[in-house]
């Protein structure tokens, strides 16, 4: 009878007829769902559709129906075969994975640190992690331009220590992009991770210590399994948006490092090749849906496990 665990059948709504449910949901959920259909689902379907059309001589969208855009995406362009676009896809995935990995690496100690603080400090420490998130992403990103330019104290120190040749800068470059990404996405990893760390049953760890386990073994066998839910939620929250990021590579990479997001922007901007841009967007969309599907299969039914 209770096929849907989210509907509270003990309450009075349980007494409703099928029709009663139907028109009540139409009144409440209807407008919101209609909105998402009109401004999300239909636009995404439009993207999929034009990805099979052709760019006109001056950037119009024209028939005929074609697979050319996908062929081009695979590397078969006007000037011969060139595996450029697959490379960009792989590069974006690597950037997303590296960002998520580094965020995880940084978030773990932070989450444990916060979880071990006494009550009031805990809230304060958590707020401190979230506060930068309330300021604008663009501000936090371009600040790294200043920090990484050749005349900044950071680069001067590195130059004086001989880590960096004189007069050179860390910006623009891949390192700058990576640092900017980690800095921006870190809170998205810390929060879900903290939520899991907070719930850890420490008696397991103590038992492991009593049994003579070393710190790594304690972490690996007694703690890690307990924080897997937070870890995977954080991973999805960082990896998926990081892979499609467009602003950070643009501002910190000097417009030299093209990622999936920049490629899409370029097609809908200066190159005015909407069908090709749509094809790339579709691939990015498949990536996200695939990622979510994989996660849903491995960590079933926790309502996305957000935050």
């Amino acid at each position: 009878m209770n096929a849907d665990p989210q509907t509270n059948d003990r309450s009075l709504t349980g007494a409703l007829t099928r029709n009663g449910h139907w028109w009540r949901s139409a009144l409440t959920s209807g407008p919101g769902l209609a909105w998402l259909t009109a401004f999300l689902l239909i636009p995404l379907l439009a993207i999929v559709t034009i990805s099979f059309l052709t760019r006109g001589e001056y950037g119009e969208i024209e028939r005929p129906f074609t697979f050319d855009n996908y062929q081009r995406l695979l590397g078969f362009g006007l000037l011969g075969f060139d595996p450029l676009y697959p490379t960009i896809l792989v590069r974006s995935l690597i950037l997303g994975l590296t960002t998520a990995g580094l965020c995880l690496f940084a978030a773990l100690p932070l989450a444990f640190f916060i979880a071990r603080l006494p009550g009031g400090w805990k809230t304060a420490a958590l707020i401190l992690v979230v506060v930068p998130f309330w300021t604008n992403l663009l501000i936090r990103t371009y600040a790294w331009q200043i920090l990484f330019s050749s005349e900044s104290w950071l680069c001067r120190t590195a130059q004086a220590l001989g880590w960096l040749s004189p007069g050179t800068a860390l910006y623009p470059g891949f390192l700058a992009v990576l640092v900017g990404m980690v800095c921006d996405f870190l809170p998205f990893m810390v929060l879900p991770l903290y939520a899991s760390v907070e719930k850890i049953d420490w008696t397991l760890a103590e038992a492991a210590v009593d049994l003579g386990a070393n710190p790594w073994q304690v972490f690996r066998h007694a703690l890690l399994p307990q924080i897997i839910p937070g870890l995977s939620a954080g991973w999805v929250l960082v990896f998926l948006p990081a892979t499609g990021q467009f602003v950070i590579p643009d501002l910190l990479g000097g417009a030299k490092t093209t990622m999936l997001g920049n490629l899409i922007q370029q097609q809908f901007g200066p190159s005015r090749d909407w069908p090709f841009g749509a094809a790339i967007s579709f691939v990015a969309l498949l990536l996200v849906v695939g990622g979510l599907w994989l996660r849903a299969r491995n960590a079933p039914e926790k309502d996305g496990g957000l935050m």
Partner: protein
């Protein structure tokens, strides 16, 4: 539970420094007299004076606020109703509705932005609707705000004790009365939290606004982006410092407010 070890504390402090470094840099450099580059040219408050006369910055601040307020009002209303429906009623295709809800959360901004750009331009060609401008930006922002609002409010609804609503019905309240007098006051904190989240998302958004904006609808993020692209930042540093201060104060105020609210609730429960 033990308190954090010294080693863990040092690592944590370093990580906090890493998160806050960019913000501090912007604040410090907003007082830098040097117009170009990262060299220090002495202390000045000149850029704040320049900013006050910067008409585009002021109008961008206005657009940003208008956009944030209207989109938040709309998305909070729609999202709350949507959450209520999802939590209380059954309808065919509900599983798909749940899935649709998560698409804007994870989809790259740029894909959503170009999809809306395409949709608007098709709608304009066929029906003459959707001239790019503040209205199209509001519609776009509402679209990515609704899911976040719904997820937050639904979580609050799930934690509700059904006995309260049942009691109201037993006392003769109809469904609508029950919602307004019992359910809504109970989920109000969740709705407010959701609205705040939606508002922040709107203020923070650059990519979707960038693609759906029109003349005179430049928002602060768009303004900052184009200035940074041109490589001139002194008055943008000043602008950013002001934005940082405002968001810090707002965060602090709401946190304190929630605290005192909780405290009051505790007291009244006793």
């Amino acid at each position: 539970m033990r308190s954090p070890s010294p080693r863990l504390s040092v690592i944590a402090v370093l990580l906090y420094a890493f998160i806050y470094a960019p913000i501090l840099v912007v604040i410090v450099y907003s007082f830098n007299a040097s117009r170009f580059g990262a060299g220090w040219g002495g202390f000045t408050t000149r850029w704040y004076e320049v900013l006050l006369e910067n008409a585009p910055a002021l109008s961008a601040a206005k657009s940003t606020l208008l956009l944030g307020i209207f989109s938040t009002l709309l998305s909070t209303t729609l999202g709350t109703a949507l959450a209520f429906g999802l939590a209380r009623f059954r309808f065919p295709g509900k599983a798909w509705a749940n899935r649709l809800l998560y698409v804007p959360v994870f989809i790259p901004d740029i894909v959503m932005a170009v999809a809306l750009l395409l949709f608007y331009s098709l709608a304009r060609q066929w029906f003459g609707l959707f001239e790019l401008g503040l209205t199209t930006m509001i519609l776009a922002h509402v679209t990515f705000q609704i899911p976040f609002v719904t997820i937050v409010v639904r979580a609050r609804l799930a934690g509700l004790d059904p006995a309260l609503e049942e009691a109201a019905r037993d006392l003769g309240a109809n469904e609508i009365q029950t919602f307004w007098h019992v359910t809504f006051p109970l989920i109000a904190p969740g709705v407010i939290a959701a609205a705040m989240l939606a508002f922040t998302l709107s203020l923070d958004d650059f990519v979707v606004s960038f693609f759906t904006s029109g003349p005179g609808a430049t928002t602060l993020p768009i303004l900052i982006y184009s200035s940074v692209k041109r490589g001139i930042t002194p008055d943008i540093n000043a602008l950013s410092t002001l934005i940082i201060i405002v968001s810090f104060v707002a965060t602090l105020a709401t946190t304190l407010l929630q605290r005192s609210q909780k405290y009051k609730n505790l007291k009244s429960e006793r």
